[in-house]
């Protein structure tokens, strides 16, 4: 017998949890403005997240999926993408979405039970939140196929979690992207937990990056708490896509520091010690330490940045709270381009009921 195929999966990190460089930093990381912007974006995502959970706890928001601990993975993706690229997120990647121009009040509207939250003012072509796990991987592949057919130098990026790699749609997307050399990047945010199911019950695979091997596409594992690593490798993957070299799978290793959603209580299924250990690896602190060592950041900047974030979040909350409920006709008016005649009677009935004229 002979070995006819083998593979290796490489791991990349630029900053360790203490903020010490462990590799030669990519060029963009030598620009303090770039690092400050990414840090500010991670901080904004965290302040937003804390506020959103408070809103849910006080009855002002529906169930909400926290992004706590994922900020580097999310902001790294957003920062690497160009505006014309297309994001197909799942439902907690606020750092990526905010970077791309989605508004905080829109995210609040979505979790506040209002479809207008997915009618992003921009980017208009991005896919909305996607709750059916990993189904969005296929939309990214399809979007990439559209760009490929039109000869546009654009890429699509899908984001799912570790649980999503067990779904058929995930494999089907990787496979077709490989077969057709599509300009798409599949991001797997490995936060170790799919609600209550730990990674070791999800798969016997040693890494999730190696799921790329069967599809014949490159895969890499990066430190998902290192925003420099995430941005760097997503940029590289997007460049490959734009050059017509096909898809890439990137697994980012991070940890879900929060409950799955506000409807979940993670203390039922995981040890506090594990969470506390993971907290020491969280992404904001290491970038802050690195920037402080380079004298690009200090307490005053931190305070200013935080106050700015709090003000922006407060403005978004106010806008969300003051947005009136959509009219009842909204249910009907976006079902099809034109309302079929048979539905007109139901629409009228709904209006009558909503305005107190029910019979």
């Amino acid at each position: 017998m002979e070995t006819i195929a083998d593979f290796e999966i490489r791991y990349s990190q630029f900053l360790d949890p203490q903020g010490q460089p462990t590799d030669t930093l990519p060029a963009f990381a030598e620009d303090p403005e770039v690092l400050r912007a990414m840090y500010a974006s991670m901080l904004l995502a965290r302040v937003f997240d804390t506020k959103a959970i408070n809103l849910q706890r006080t009855g002002k928001l529906g169930t909400y999926a926290s992004c706590l601990g994922h900020e580097a993975s999310h902001v790294g993706i957003g920062a690497a993408m160009r505006p014309e690229d297309c994001l197909a997120p799942s439902y907690r990647e606020y750092g990526a979405m905010l970077w791309r121009g989605v508004q905080m009040h829109e995210i609040l509207l979505y979790w506040g039970g209002d479809e207008r939250g997915s009618d992003f003012a921009g980017p208009r072509h991005d896919f909305p939140f996607c709750v059916p796990i990993a189904t969005q991987c296929l939309h990214a592949a399809g979007a990439a196929m559209a760009y490929q057919l039109r000869g546009e130098p654009r890429c699509a990026v899908s984001i799912n979690g570790d649980g999503g790699t067990s779904e058929g749609a995930f494999y089907e997307a990787l496979n077709v992207a490989g077969a057709k050399k599509l300009p798409v990047v599949f991001m797997v945010i490995n936060n170790k937990w799919a609600i209550s199911v730990p990674l070791e019950l999800q798969t016997a695979s040693r890494t999730l990056a190696q799921k790329s091997v069967a599809a014949g596409i490159p895969g890499i594992q990066v430190d998902g708490n290192d925003v420099i690593a995430v941005r760097h490798w997503v940029e590289r993957a997007l460049e490959r896509g734009r050059r017509g070299e096909g898809p890439t799978l990137i697994e980012t290793l991070t940890y879900r520091l929060s409950d799955h959603t506000t409807a979940d209580d993670a203390s039922r299924y995981r040890a506090r010690e594990e969470v506390e250990a993971a907290r020491k690896l969280e992404p904001l602190l290491r970038l802050r330490r690195y920037m402080e060592a380079r004298e690009w950041w200090d307490e005053a900047r931190e305070e200013a940045c935080r106050s700015e974030a709090i003000e922006a979040v407060d403005r978004a909350v106010e806008r969300y709270i003051n947005t009136p409920r959509p009219p009842v006709t909204a249910m009907f008016d976006h079902l099809f381009a034109e309302l079929p005649p048979g539905l007109a009677a139901q629409r009228e009935l709904a209006v009558r009921r909503a305005t107190g004229g029910s019979r």
Partner: protein
């Protein structure tokens, strides 16, 4: 003027629209080099190239999901699901995404895609190749379910489906793919969706049907005419959203309603039509509504398929029984 079968009319419509609109992309299993297992896409790849007519990996959820992605980004995918029995992995994408992308984004994104699905029994096919699952999809808001029953309607309705800004499941009755030839000029003229087609006028009984059963129903109506019974035969064509008006107007005239479909009787599309007529035209009915449908069993392998499917005899029985009620 071309004299074509139903499946040739499908090919003609695809070719016409591909030539007219470069956003139209045909994709699916074996649709390219092979021209489709039923030959619906024969010659298209040679004419339009491998970008416009794409053979895909064998994965139905992928075919539907990639179509959603393409449609949302400005293309007009027309995907083939090889047989209706293989559409089920794609249901997630159809129901959770294609049907609701417009609603979910308040119209920011929409999903102009067509899934062509050969369906139904009667061709001595293997297992999982002969079902009629149209009612499942008709129950789902946000998608159109369109079923042609003649070459002319296949051509016109498929053109309309491809031009529609919203998703359409286009069920093609495979048993009548090559049953009849008709003169169908390749004019590019679409037929309206969301309306029933009255194929034969009559005063005694309204017979509502769609797909391959249209043939049995028209034959039955011919025979009944010999006995002096005049059937009004309505081809629903767009099952959802349903054009109830045409059916109700007819029932108000005839006072009798027979619904004929190949799919299992219970919870079928016939039940919805019966309910609508009961709600809106009960007092026009002179006799109870009757359904002539498949049994509520698993579609049998082909040695029994003609026992399962309602043929002319069963349709006539249904009409006679209704007249005698």
């Amino acid at each position: 003027m071309a004299t074509v079968t139903l499946i040739e009319a499908v090919t003609m419509a695809l070719a016409h629209e591909m030539a007219r609109d470069e956003r139209v992309i045909v994709l699916g299993e074996d649709v390219g080099v092979n021209g489709g297992v039923f030959r619906a896409t024969a010659g298209l790849q040679q004419r339009f190239g491998t970008d416009r007519v794409q053979d895909t990996p064998l994965a139905e959820a992928m075919i539907a999901g990639v179509s959603v992605g393409m449609a949302a980004q400005g293309m007009r995918p027309v995907a083939e699901i090889q047989f209706e029995g293989f559409i089920f992995p794609a249901v997630d994408q159809i129901v959770n995404h294609a049907a609701r992308l417009r609603t979910r984004t308040r119209g920011r994104l929409h999903c102009p895609m067509v899934l062509r699905v050969p369906y139904g029994g009667g061709i001595h096919a293997p297992e999982h190749h002969s079902d009629s699952p149209e009612a499942m999809f008709a129950h789902m808001p946000g998608i159109r379910v369109v079923i042609p029953s003649s070459p002319a309607r296949a051509y016109g309705l498929l053109l309309a489906a491809m031009r529609d800004p919203d998703p359409v499941i286009f069920f093609e009755p495979k048993r009548i793919y090559r049953l009849q030839k008709q003169e169908v000029p390749d004019t590019g003229e679409a037929l309206p969706l969301d309306v029933c087609y009255t194929l034969r006028e009559g005063d005694d009984v309204t017979v509502v049907t769609w797909g391959a059963m249209t043939y049995e129903t028209l034959k039955a109506a011919d025979q009944m005419a010999g006995e002096g019974v005049h059937c009004e035969v309505i081809d629903v064509a767009t099952l959802s959203p349903l054009d109830a008006e045409t059916i109700i107007e007819s029932v108000e005239k005839t006072g009798r309603l027979v619904i004929v479909h190949e799919a299992p009787q219970s919870f079928g599309a016939g039940a919805e039509i019966a309910a609508v007529v009961a709600e809106r035209a009960l007092y026009s009915l002179r006799t109870p509504i009757r359904r002539v449908a498949g049994y509520d069993t698993i579609m049998p392998l082909f040695r029994l398929e003609t026992e399962y499917m309602p043929g002319v005899t069963r349709v006539i029985e249904g009409i006679r029984a209704t007249l005698e009620d």
